[in-house]
């Protein structure tokens, strides 16, 4: 229990790298193409402002940030995207979610590389328009 932890243990817990594991999830996924114009009405760009791409951290300069934003289409920017939006319904995922501690990133290089691999692949500027899959994920 949390209150049984001392200060150092709490600090380690806060700095821990956790991921959610869903083992044996039974999923029925239906991927369909929907009308981009309709999505613009449902999720217009004016609803969502100040989009913050992941890799654009404080170390980047502002001109660099503006350049990256202007030269690429964000996958969740339905209005600007030239690729037809896709919808995806994931139905029935009853498996129990468990949290797996990946361990201290400093002591687990392999796990850190693995996680970074996916995190880097997930970053918006790495995706071309053709690769971007717009996912309107509706959990039922």
């Amino acid at each position: 229990m949390l209150y049984a932890l001392d200060r150092n243990e709490l600090k380690q817990l806060r700095n821990a790298n956790w991921t959610a594991e869903l083992t044996g999830a039974e999923m029925l996924a239906a991927v369909f193409r929907t009308d981009q114009k309709v999505l613009e009405q449902i999720l217009p760009d004016r609803y969502v402002h100040r989009l913050i791409p992941w890799p654009l951290r404080s170390s980047r300069t502002i001109p660099k940030l503006v350049s990256e934003l202007s030269t690429m289409r964000l996958p969740y920017s339905f209005k600007q995207s030239t690729v037809a939006a896709q919808g995806c319904i994931v139905y029935r995922c009853p498996s129990m979610m468990t949290w797996q501690w990946l361990g201290d990133v400093k002591s687990s290089v392999t796990q850190r590389r693995w996680q970074n691999q996916f995190r880097l692949r997930s970053r918006v500027p790495r995706l071309s328009e053709a690769q971007c899959v717009r996912v309107l994920k509706l959990f039922v």
């Binding site: 869903l22 039974e26 999923m27 309709v38 609803y47 969502v48 969740y76 692949r121 690769q131």
Partner: protein
């Protein structure tokens, strides 16, 4: 089913084990050598205030990378999706123009840490679509046009 209305109907005929190429997804091995796929899900995170007058915080658009590890028995096939609106769920607003593929099976998934990539600065416009958590707002706003053109 939601309050007597079938808002989602999925009919699938699983036939083949090959189908990820239709989703433009290429597998990469995870540390255990298993084939895995990465999907970035974009979801709105929101929570209504206890007074039901607005949200506790501005709804956030969250990007969540998910690593999918389909088990060998995952089947793909053609299918149909029917989305229907109810008084509480304007789900039928999303048209199904063309089916891409359907998949059914067991997965071992990992949800990696996500990021907030945007915020909704107009919660009133968003509240109608917060129907999976709240019934009151969509019902009250169901016949109200809150667009700028109104």
């Amino acid at each position: 089913m939601r309050k007597g209305t079938e808002i989602v109907r999925i009919e699938v005929e699983p036939k083949t084990t090959e189908g990820f190429e239709k989703l433009a997804m290429t597998g990469v091995p995870d540390p255990n050598g298993e084939r895995s796929f990465e999907v970035t899900a974009y979801m709105f995170k929101h929570f209504m205030a206890p007074s039901m007058r607005g949200f506790d915080y501005l709804p956030r658009l969250v990007a969540e990378p998910i690593v999918l590890r389909p088990r060998p028995e995952v089947l793909f096939g053609e299918g149909n999706v029917t989305l229907t609106s109810s008084l509480y769920d304007p789900l039928g607003e999303v048209p199904v123009v063309e089916m891409v593929t359907c998949a059914y099976g067991l997965y071992d998934n990992t949800m990696l840490p996500g990021k907030v990539v945007g915020r909704v600065w107009n919660p009133l416009a968003f509240v109608r679509h917060a129907f999976f958590k709240v019934d009151i707002a969509p019902a009250k706003l169901g016949h109200v046009d809150i667009s700028d053109d109104a």
